[in-house]
Amino acid sequence: MSRAPRSRGANGWLLSAPALILLLIAANGPLLIIAVYSFLEPGDYSGVRWIFSGDAWFRILFHRDIFDGTVSLADANLSIFWRSIKLSLITTLITFAFGLPTAWFIATRPAKQRAIWLFLITIPFWTNLLIRTFAIMEVIRNQGLLNTALMNMGLITEPIQILYTDTAVLIGMTYVYLPLMVLPLFAAIDRFDFRLIEAGYDLYGSRLKVLRSVILPIIKPGIIAGCILVFTPSLGAYVTPRVLGGGKNMMIGNFIELQFGQGQNWPLGAALSLILLLSVLVALTIYAAVSRREKPS
């Protein structure tokens, strides 16, 4: 009798073993390899040499002159980090500015229509990223749809250079990540009790004040979720800045790729990947902290 629970426990471990092995080997194993590689020396052409070195981590922020050995801040790297963070933040803001009215619109449709609108929002999401990115390129390039239309209308005489600028990257990322903002916002607004707006107006709140003091604080969890869902992949974006930014406007994703490719510095690439992971963890921690404060016990 007393053996039954014990054997069931052992069976439990046995049954969950495939999942555990998969988690350890497939998910955390590669991460461990990346962490180890970041502390090794780069190989001559690619790969690593099994010699411990903190050089990769040092080189993320600092630059050592090859002739006199003086140390200075790695301006080139810092500008790539800064551009990544800046473009990701702006993308988050733009997707929020477009996403909030969109989510509001969908949430206020009759129940039957909502599924259709949500479907329309998510269709691009199920389409290949590369194809969508090239489609945007087709629209904004100098002889593309936008410039041709503007020139035919006589609004401009020379095509506007949008492709291969930060603007192009922003347009691309906004388009790609908008659904990730709209969906959590929709979920939050869908739960929102619209009678609270009437209560706000009734208590002398103007439209703007009701938005700021009633609506935004209540849908805040949705806003934070949307911002993190957009900011995180934006920060690591690779295809969009590569295709629309033209290679010279790099973001962290492209910089990492460079280290594993032409740069032939795997440890640096590994260290950069971990930095990216770390920033995401920081963002998630902030989210957890804020949402915990929202629900005091």
Binding site: G200, Y201, L203, Y204, V214, P296
Partner: protein
Amino acid sequence: MDHEFAVEARHTIKTFGRGASAVNALDDVSIGIRKGEFFTLLGPSGCGKTTLLRCVAGFETPTSGTILLSGQDITSTPPNQRRVNTVFQSYALFPHLTVAGNVGFGLQMLGKSKLEVNETVARVLALVQLEDLADRLPAQLSGGQQQRVALARALAPAPEVLLLDEPLSALDLKLRKAMQIELKRLQTETGITFVFVTHDQEEALTMSDRIGVMSGGKLLQVGTPRDIYDRPVNRFVADFIGETNFLPAKVVPGGVCLKTGDVLSVPTGDRAGEVAVAVRPEQIGLTSAGGGTLDATVVEATYFGTDTHVHLQLSDGSLLVARVPSAQAIQPAKGDVLGLRLDTSAMQVLAP
């Protein structure tokens, strides 16, 4: 200039929908609610009482007609610029704000100083006996407490008129009775005009200075609870407020003639032809057969403690209910033939 009316509606019409499916939620309603009055809009659901309240609050704009607040036309004034506050049926408390935050919301929106907000919030919370719960969130309160917060929140900015949209409907009977007394006390203490919407006729009778009875978007009768109970203008009002027996009759010289052939000498006013005579169950007394105005057979007698409800059948087959004190000499039993003493001065002759 001092206006007699705190709220006035003139020929207010509100139509929902268009074309063939259009419905008049308010059908030419004119009403004047006096300053400092506890006024109740009473009617069944869908009668337009809430629509009228929402027109006063500013959440609905009348299709035509005018709404006045202290003599000023506010028909197209947005709700946040009307010195009117609402206690919502669902309470609509802000879930992200504490009790104090909710109560102080209106004052903050009005741009009052922090000191003034805090003082008023403390005073109003004391008024509704919630001082100890100032830092709680709405989700941590019981239904009755949420109700008080909603009330305090609407009272805090000291509006000219307080609108209450069936605020007690979600409470259980005992709490509802307590809140009825509480509301009446608050109204007397603050002197604010209360416009109370309910479908509960008992609630309306016990709390109100005056009642407006509505049905089908029309205002049928306005008067004190006693007026409305004793002198209903039509069959609907008589039936909706309290219990009433309706006896079909015909106007004859000097009174009305029932289907049984008995003639009752009641004032008929200018009515003629077919009418309905309204008799309240408590206005019927029982006596021995032949001793009253007319005779009836007891169908059933139900004992209710102090009262006994006696179901009676007249000789023409029509049924009526009498409510008599259980302690009286005559103990009606099924099948008994009894005489009915009718207080003809209290009976109403209404359109059939």
